[in-house]
């Protein structure tokens, strides 16, 4: 039974060039990602409708990053527009029209106006050497900004491995003394690591958060709904692993047959993420499907712990 508000919601969607079919297809993928059964698709769609009416404020901070996680966020399929209008992005350096003093004003206004209510999303690592001198915005170090803004947020989500654990910026020898947000300022965060993270996991997290649902996390701050199993657990090539059918050289017959990449250095068995089921870019593919071993990019310290990438574990 369609309510008036949901009817209106679909009208709005249509006006944005998103068909109901597209939207439901998207919600189906999202529902699977959130670890829910197919029968709950309608409920997930209802959550997004509800969210669209609230538009909770979001402050997105950029520290030591490559902007790949903002780009990943923009790749949310079909509904980039909805995502931008489901939440209210009060501050986001890549997207916002204002610059300089006016941008600073937007940040300050949002943090004060929505104190204790805004969702803080962080992209990039925080420099701690030399008083955080290796990274600044508007003359303030990332460390100062993190200490100033993050404690005022209702919750903080670290997107990508850099904000979660330091990522590439923290790879040895780590000249800037970069760390993840929690290690840098001692505040608990929800971590969505990956290089980049999967935008479906962000949307799933936001929806659960808006629904006041308790988000179960693992020891590294990762939501279990997305990071509860290894890449290996759900790998479409798992059967080949069990049958001892391995690729031992790229370009070989075995590679063409889609055999297991374990001997090529695949880190899937030690990597917690839902890449094989959620996939990327509207479920187009994920690295193993493209014939490349998993590099373990959602694990803490993977640039040092998981390398050399092409050596068997």
């Amino acid at each position: 039974m369609e309510t008036n508000s949901s009817k209106k919601f679909y009208e709005v969607l249509e006006s944005k060039g998103v068909s109901r079919r597209d939207f439901l297809k998207y919600c189906t993928a999202l529902t699977a990602t959130m670890g829910l059964s197919y029968s709950l698709v309608g409920q997930v769609a209802a959550k997004i409708e509800k969210a669209a009416a609230i538009r909770p404020p979001v402050v997105w901070l950029h520290f030591s990053e490559c902007t790949g996680c903002s780009e990943a966020f923009l790749r949310t399929p079909d509904v980039g527009g909805i995502i931008l209008e489901t939440i209210s992005v009060e501050y986001h350096e890549t997207l916002m029209a204002a610059a300089g003093e006016q941008a600073e004003k937007s940040l300050h206004d949002a943090v004060e106006k929505y104190k204790g209510k805004f969702l803080c999303i962080v992209e990039g690592a925080v420099g701690t050497s030399y008083n955080g001198s290796y990274g600044k915005v508007s003359g303030k170090t990332f460390l100062e900004i993190a200490r100033e803004v993050i404690p005022k947020a209702a919750a903080t989500i670290c997107v990508g491995s850099c904000s979660a654990y330091g990522g590439i910026a923290a790879a040895a020898p780590n000249p800037g003394g970069y760390k993840g947000v929690k290690d840098a300022i001692g505040i608990d965060t929800i971590n969505l690591p990956g290089c980049p993270f999967n935008p479906l996991n962000l949307l799933g997290t936001i929806l659960k958060y808006l629904d006041n649902e308790k988000i179960e996390l693992d020891d590294y701050g990762r939501p279990l709904f997305a990071y509860g199993e290894t890449v290996h657990d759900n790998c479409p090539r798992l059967e080949h692993y069990e049958n001892d059918e391995f690729v031992e050289e790229f370009g070989s017959k075995e590679a063409e047959l889609g055999y297991c990449l374990y001997k090529m250095g695949c880190k899937g068995p030690e990597t917690y993420n839902n890449c094989p089921t959620a996939k990327f870019n509207d479920a187009t593919s994920f690295p193993i499907q493209a014939g490349h071993p998993c590099i373990g990019c959602s694990e803490p310290g993977f640039w040092d712990e998981m390398t050399p990438f092409y050596e068997e574990m």
Partner: protein, 545 residues
Amino acid sequence: MGKRIIVDPITRIEGHLRIEVEVEKGKVVDAWCSGQMFRGIEMMLQGRDPRDAHHFVQRSCGVCTYVHALASVRAVEQACNIEIPENARIIRNLLHGSQFQHDHIVHFYHLHALDWVDIVSALSADPAKTAKLSENVSGRPQNSAYFSEIQTRLKTFVNSGQLGPFNNAYWGHSAYNLPAEANLMASAHYIEGLKLQAKAARMHAIFGGKNPHPQSLVVGGITSVRDLTPERIDEYTQIWKETKAFVDEVYLPDLLAIASFYKEWGAIGGNNDAYLAYGEFPQKKVDDDLLLPGGVVDASLAYAAVNTDKIAEDVTRAWYEKGEAKHPLSGETKPIAGEVFYNTDDKYSWIKAPRYAGKSAEVGPLARVLVAYAKGHDHVKKLVDHTLKTLDVGKGALFSTLGRTAARAIETVVISDAMEGWIETLKSNIASGNKKTYQPWTMPDKGQGGGLNDVPRGALGHWIDIKGGKIKNYQYVVPSTWNFGPRDSKKQKGPVEKSLVGTPVADPSKPIEVLRTVHSFDPCLACAVHVIDPHTNQTYEVKVI
């Protein structure tokens, strides 16, 4: 002494950029560019496995995703004497081509357009007149109902009181010249472009597993052999077609329509002595028969081949320890180990200052288009001449903020068109049973390699020195380093600093005009903080055609 204005953060770019300008009598008389973040990826690479380098360097930037990985595998392949199979070269070209398509569309609509397009003014446009305008300029006219819907959507958004990313902007600024209808048309395409770019990124996912940071390149070729099926190639082709149609029917026409109201910007934001391109898209072997040629031109369009011996760099004004100029193969990156202080009279940036023949050189779409034009590249010449004729401006207008932004659209058309042939070759190879995508090889004990190529933001080079099968040294020279570098020991400004001089600033508290020129270079600051230390003792040859 004029008034100093600092714009920090520069938004709608990649990374952390601080721009300072001095304004006198309503014009910029001096400028300083500062990169505000240092990670030190080259330092991290030392001692690691050369096969891993491309994963590390790809993380220089998630906007310029893929391009550093490509440059890196090419450098390692040269060092290890590997010749990749034709299919691998074609797929790498296709991934690179779709990167250009995606990157340039996002730049124009989502990073640059709001410098020219007043979204608030679009609220008062007449949808029927907008449809008329669309009929006159667009290759894909849209009707009044469409524009009316977009306008309603914008109004709802504004009336919600939560302006989000559109808060505190320069709406209503006297420098906005577009009539309300053109603002509405462009705003509609901002929204369309948002949807299209998500789709265009799927081209990377098809042959690369994901985007950003595709993961199918390896030293020796590519791994996505199972995606070389007629169905998968067709999936790619459909998205390429849709993206190309958007480029031809929406992007280029929008560019021309918007530019026609901003012709004065054809005389602002130039000032550079040299325009440098390495060239890109090998259509035979790895560095042979490039779609876009390499070369150096000056403001008179006099062409010369690139001579890498003429590249030198300078660290006088950057936050690094003093060191002699060295070739990238022995170059060093030594950040000051301590707190760094911004001082425009001394050191003020993490970016170094590369120079060509002693002068700063601009790289990027404008450089590539000028070099191709000077070499008589048919397709480029046709499009450039068409652009100049449509706007009724002379060749001098190319050397400007307007020319730079137009060049980006022009090359997107050229590259999009060329991709068709690559798809066809790939298809016929596969149909004939040739699915070879990888060349087996063994790691030498030592080797040196490098490669010059061209990526959306300009000329790029990676250099590697392998010893004992490990990376002894790795350096790369990045487009935004060329463009956004600071002054050198002779006090010569970098390209962006020079380009900003003469820019009008109507209201120092709202320097939108400064953003226009800065954004026209499509800054990527995370990339820019890398180092080149070349000198004249070339130890290997890099071919530039």
